[in-house]
Point group: C2
Chain length 199, copies 2
DNA sequence: CATTATACATGATAGCAATCATATATACAA
DNA sequence: TTGTATATATGATTGCTATCATGTATAATG
């Protein structure tokens, strides 16, 4: 049965939201078109009215996964505390799309990769604004490095079946990010001076 | 036709090697049993003489993927230079199993996860021996943090379809790892003092 | 050398998933 | 209100993949 135009728009949003959650939870391949439609409260048949193919669904889903675009108002240290928390680790469905999907996207066709590249570029810019560093170059470097460390740590913490090791990865990576150099000075990578953040 | 026992042993090694390469290149799901057997120079039928299931093949493949167990004789900085090189980035098939497969392993059943956990633990121990730090605790922290950063960076560099961004991720993460704190002191995370490494 | 066990090939089987075909109910236009 | 367009449901279809069944050549064994 036909539904209203507003409902169609709403349905598309619901489908993309369901896909975003399911893909992050189970990956692209393990999620079927039927799964997505069912999660959206519809049946599989209507799918091709919305998308040309599953491939297109994947690309559009990634395009919609861009986290908030408003500037972060906290320092990187707070971001790391939340990012590297057990809660985030255990919540694939609502967590960081890069940690959940970057590996799979590597093996996806063009559109998915370019959409996810957009997500990544925005992430670096956002982080660059709050990262410590004397100039823009240093801040961008810190944004890239600490993003890689956080994403890598989350992936590893999710991978292992050893709960102690998983917690250790989160905790030690967080500490290592805040830590400074091996001499134990007071400098902190993530909480150092940053001209753009007021205390 | 039956083959010699030596040949059987050899065939199993060839199958596992082919699987290791194919899985890292394309992931577990995209590689079929037939693909693996063909790459090993056999046909699909014989597969179940070697493995109870594809799941078992995956677990045994991961078990065989443990990189060298001999201690690293270089410092972390050299390791990072090779790990974060374009050559490693482009060689999925022979590269780091953690970067290629950690995300997928998260969604695999128990055996695969525990085998990969073993790979990870050994990696931390190996890195801990050459990581900078005043004591074992600091060195382990550095091993975990820099592993996470390198693996995360490789995953992101492989994901993006923007060649400049990909190179930037590798280069900046390497520099960030060697860099010290935001104040620009002379300390270096990866090349700092390490009592166990002689120059 | 004769017998037996077995590794591998060929060829099902069964199930699942993407995609397509068609029917129907209903929003929308007139 | 009437007619038409279309969103969705139901139900193929097609192709792929894991797994199994069977035959056969040949290594092992005595």
């Amino acid at each position: 049965m036909r539904v209203s135009r507003k409902q169609v728009e709403e349905n598309k949003r619901i489908i993309l939201e369901a896909a975003g959650r399911l893909f992050r939870e189970r990956g692209f391949e393990a999620v079927t078109v039927t799964d997505v439609m069912k999660a959206a409260g519809l049946t599989h048949g209507g799918f091709y009215g919305y998308f040309k193919s599953k491939e297109e669904l994947i690309a559009q889903t990634i395009a919609g996964l861009q986290g908030g675009t408003e500037p972060l108002s906290v320092d990187l240290s707070s971001v790391a505390r939340r990012y590297l928390s057990p809660e985030h680790r255990d919540d694939y469905g609502h967590g960081c799309p890069l940690a959940a999907l970057a590996s799979e996207v590597s093996r996806q066709p063009g559109a998915a990769r370019s959409e996810m590249t957009g997500v990544l570029k925005r992430q670096f810019v956002r982080f660059g604004k709050i990262a410590p560093g004397a100039d823009d170059e240093e801040r961008r470097r810190a944004a890239i490095g600490s993003s890689a460390a956080m994403i890598g740590a989350l992936i590893l913490a999710r991978m292992t079946d050893d709960p102690d090791l998983s917690a250790e990865i989160l905790d030690e990576t967080r500490a290592w990010l805040s830590d400074s150099d091996p001499e134990g000075s007071a400098s902190h990578r993530l909480s150092g001076k940053n001209p753009r953040v007021e205390d």
